[in-house]
Symmetry: C2
Subunit: 200 residues, 2 copies
DNA sequence: GTATTTGGATACCAATGAGTATCTGAATAC
DNA sequence: GTATTCAGATACTCATTGGTATCCAAATAC
């Protein structure tokens, strides 16, 4: 039943398991309300495994931040403005109800707070956000150059909408109808809706 | 030197002092990394004062959230679209460098996370965000009714920009030029800048 | 003035959690 | 096959912290 694994494989597997458990628990309960024992237990291990693979709690958090930085996003294509917005909207609406999305958002906020306070982790946080922004900017540039704002600024604004609408939606779903995000994206990209009214 | 205070006054004063200290420490170090001893000490008191005035740590947090809910914002006037945007932009740019602003933002995020996880505090968090949104909506309505989106949605989007740009700026000031927020607001309100380029 | 209430201080407790020291069994080296 | 290494388990420690019990002195009641 149990596969025979080489040492390096075994090690890598436990590292990833620990990081997975940590990310989930950090999102659920918060970084400082999560003990190393809990993280290890959730991964089917003990605290010994944590100290065998990480320098301590802070180091584990750093590794988590780093792992997020490392997994690269899918490559953008070259769609029309309209279809890109539709894709974005669909993706937003299909992601919103998934528990995974909530977890990701909570973990993001946890890591943001942690990075804001810990000088040593600040850099990783900054790089991560830059990478996401850069990814958005590339997508925006692929849309053409007749947009109202420079791609870099548009990217920052799109990300702001994502974060800001997300926070509000999570707190109070009814207060932020699903199409609000889409309307915001359209406005930022300079798209005028046909007719003054608000369809859909 | 010391004023003679009635009991109720004394009590109210210590309550406010404790809340002030708590808010500052929560912003600086985080809710769960701040002990009641630290809060009390920062207010020149001891833990006894906390338990004499609050049910416990959670209750103190609830009171903090409640106090935020209670202090009402200044009343909006009825300016032109352009002047309102300028006011908003000026206010943004003058607030951004103030340490107070950072503290408020960090405290907000702390309270948001706490409220998201604690069912009992969720309501206060929701009400608080609703109040801010409603305030924005009133301002937006005062601008007239020829805006691209309904006031309620515009309000949510403006708040999203505020939060989202703020988070990014705090992490990486150079990455988000000051005018980005203003450009975003203009876009949401349907203002076209004269000339396709980006002046200032 | 005396009695009583009570805001707040002090001393304590039990629980928790990060970090350490030590040990063990399986994987590698030879 | 034997020796060695090392990932991970186990069993501590020591500091911290929320909460409680008790006490005191100033403010109120009469």
């Amino acid at each position: 039943m149990t596969e025979r694994l080489t040492r390096a494989q075994q090690r890598e597997r436990t590292v990833q398991r620990l990081l997975d458990s940590a990310e989930e628990l950090f999102a659920e309960r918060g970084i400082h309300q999560t003990s190393l024992d809990q993280i290890a237990a959730a991964a089917g291990l003990t605290k010994g495994a944590v100290y065998a693979n990480f320098g301590g709690k802070k180091d584990l958090i750093a590794a988590l931040l780093q792992r997020k930085l490392d997994d690269d996003e899918p490559v953008p294509e070259r769609p029309s403005l309209r279809s890109w917005i539709d894709t974005l909207a669909d993706s937003y609406e299909s992601n919103v109800p998934r528990p995974e999305t909530r977890r990701f958002a909570m973990a993001f906020v946890e890591l943001w707070l942690f990075g804001m306070r810990d000088e040593g982790h600040r850099g990783a946080l900054r790089d991560w956000l830059r990478a996401v922004r850069e990814h958005h900017a590339r997508e925006v540039r692929a849309l053409g150059d007749d947009l109202p704002l420079p791609a870099a600024e548009t990217a920052a604004l799109l990300m702001a909408l994502d974060i800001g609408i997300g926070l509000q939606f999570m707190t109070d779903p009814e207060a932020v109808p699903a199409h609000t995000y889409t309307r915001g994206v359209e406005a930022l990209l300079g798209v005028r809706r046909a007719g003054g009214s608000v369809p859909r």
